[in-house]
């Protein structure tokens, strides 16, 4: 696939992803300000820092959408990488928190968790950034492309 085609596909791919980030960000901000939570199936809009996460996700969506114009420009791709990176930070910290909670045995348990307790810590529901994480990993492909240097723009 040529770079031109890759960038066209990239624009088509990241537009809905940016909108999804924006939407989830708005939802978390509204719920956070109202002091409410919402859980729907495996989707969890709650937690200690929901408002903070919402603000970050909102900006990530905004930055991602703003990167789509002239997407082949390296500076625009920088925005795309940063926007996805913001999702990675939230998601990775959530995964780290899950790991940190899953290992110890709890107040009344032993030193380490039981297998059921350990696995149970990873069962849903999950915050929006975790759902967005696999979709945002496509940005790695574009990082690889830019590393090859073929898409660099000389100012």
């Amino acid at each position: 696939m040529s770079n031109g085609t890759a960038f066209s596909y990239g624009r088509m791919y990241f537009a809905p992803l940016g909108l999804a980030m924006l939407a989830f960000g708005c939802a978390q901000i509204i719920l956070g300000v109202a002091g409410r939570t919402y859980t729907w199936g495996l989707m969890d809009l709650s937690g200690e820092f929901m408002l903070w996460r919402g603000v970050i996700l909102f900006f990530a969506g905004f930055i991602l959408l703003s990167s789509l114009k002239d997407f082949s420009n390296i500076h625009q791709q920088g925005k795309m990488v940063l926007a996805n990176g913001m999702v990675w930070v939230i998601a990775c910290m959530e995964i780290f928190a899950m790991i940190a909670e899953s290992v110890p045995g709890g107040e009344d348990g032993g030193w380490f968790n039981t297998l059921d307790g350990f696995l149970g810590a990873y069962a849903g529901p999950y915050i929006p950034s975790l759902w967005l994480l696999p979709f945002s990993l496509v940005a790695l492909h574009y990082i690889r492309l830019s590393r090859r240097g073929s898409n660099a723009v000389i100012p």
Partner: protein, 411 residues
């Protein structure tokens, strides 16, 4: 041989033609990301994300060790064993070293070997490691100088510049290296302001760790209130103190992948200093507070300060004990506060009061040392100035807090 200006330029051109290779520079993705992190429109959301990452990592890492293992080690094994083997539960030594006989947790016991060790090793150490680990990664990747550029405009409003972010962030770990790091500020005015502001308004990592463990629901609000105070009083100090606040040029390095060996070495260096500078003060603080209780001095102090504490600040008179302990270690003082019966409003006010009322003894010694570079006059200037700022801040800012809490209806 004397050259004219034109001949000099000609010579320069000739040398540069022979030695410098000219060509186009391709901007890389790293360059683009570097630019975006210093532009306010993209840089501020990224700073918010980094701050979130830091806070989330700090909570999870410290929680994993403290709640997951340390509480169990100290409360289920260490405390019962000490209660059993330490002789004479009614004696002074027992009260000082083990604390309250029959206490069910190190949180309640308040002895040197129970609460003292638990605070230092069980609560503060994981918090300090988490803080420094994240800070070192930020330093080594090259994000910290970019944060300095980003915050430069804001800090100019209070007479400081972007590099002031370094002592500020270091102070979030420990105020002692924070005070030392003020040496990178240009003028005497900036150094004095930064030392006064950070020793009053920036809680250290140890204090943050204890606050997070005991009163997690209030930490965010308390931090916002303290940071607001720093800017309000920074603005006032900038207007009052004579001197210059010059512009600076910053060299921003490219982003780099941190070398884990360097990260490990730095982490060890910074954490090991915690063992020598912090732990002895925590243990000494517990001894001092216990001795004051046993001799009845604490009760007398509480009676003397009662009108000020209950009348003006609205906190119980027993807060005098954590205030005494806070002179040695703030984390120890917060730990003591949390075991007292108080309303939410009183707890928030007393935590802010402890944060503001006096720098811990290690920071105090550091301020004296920094002032000493200008001789006795310098010491007097730094100490008198800091204490004046401190006294003013404590009365004004804690008073403001009480009014805010009253308006919000927090009892």
């Amino acid at each position: 041989m004397k050259l004219t200006i034109d001949e000099r330029w000609e010579l320069i051109d000739r040398i540069s033609r022979q030695t410098v290779a000219f060509g186009g520079y391709k901007h890389t993705l790293k360059d683009a990301i570097g630019d975006l992190t210093v532009k306010p429109l993209t840089g501020i959301p990224i700073a918010l994300t980094v701050l979130y990452g830091f806070w989330s990592f700090f909570c999870s890492f410290a929680g994993f060790f403290t709640d997951g293992f340390m509480v169990k080690i100290f409360d289920d094994h260490w405390l019962p064993w000490l209660m059993e083997v330490f002789p004479d539960p009614d004696g002074w030594l027992f009260k000082i070293f083990v604390g309250e006989y029959g206490a069910e947790s190190c949180f309640e016991a308040f002895g040197v070997l129970t609460s003292g060790l638990f605070v230092a090793v069980g609560v503060v150490l994981p918090a300090i490691v988490a803080f420094y680990l994240f800070l070192i990664v930020m330093e080594d990747t090259g994000y910290l100088p970019r944060l300095a550029v980003l915050i430069d405009t804001l800090l100019h409003k209070i007479g400081l510049h972007g590099f002031a972010v370094v002592p500020m962030i270091l102070s979030l770990g420990c105020n002692v290296p924070g005070v030392t790091a003020t040496r990178n500020l240009e003028t005497e005015k900036q150094r004095f302001m930064m030392i006064a502001l950070l020793s009053v308004f920036i809680p250290c990592g140890a204090q943050l760790g204890v606050m997070l463990e005991l009163v997690p629901e209030y930490v965010g609000w308390i931090m916002i209130f303290l940071i607001m105070g720093m800017f309000v009083f920074g603005f006032i100090l900038n207007k009052l103190i004579p001197g210059r606040a010059p512009e600076i040029l910053m060299d921003v390095p490219p982003y780099r992948k941190p070398r884990w060996r360097n990260v490990g070495n730095k982490l060890w260096m910074r954490t090991s200093s915690f063992f020598t500078t912090a732990i002895p003060f925590v243990l000494l603080g517990v001894v001092l507070v216990n001795l004051m209780y046993l001799t009845g001095m604490m009760d007398r102090l509480a009676t003397v300060f009662s009108p000020l504490l209950t009348g003006y600040f609205g906190v119980p008179e027993e807060t005098v004990a954590p205030l005494v302990a806070g002179f040695l270690r703030k984390d120890l003082a917060i730990f003591q506060l949390a075991s007292m019966e108080m309303t939410a409003g009183q707890l928030i006010t007393s935590i802010v009061l402890i944060s503001l009322y006096f720098p811990c003894i290690a920071t105090f010694a550091m301020i004296i040392r920094e002032g000493w570079s200008s001789g006795w006059k310098g010491v007097l200037k730094y100490l008198a100035g800091s204490l004046l700022v401190l006294g003013f801040v404590v009365f004004v800012w804690v008073g403001v807090l009480r009014i805010i809490l009253m308006i919000m209806g927090v009892d």
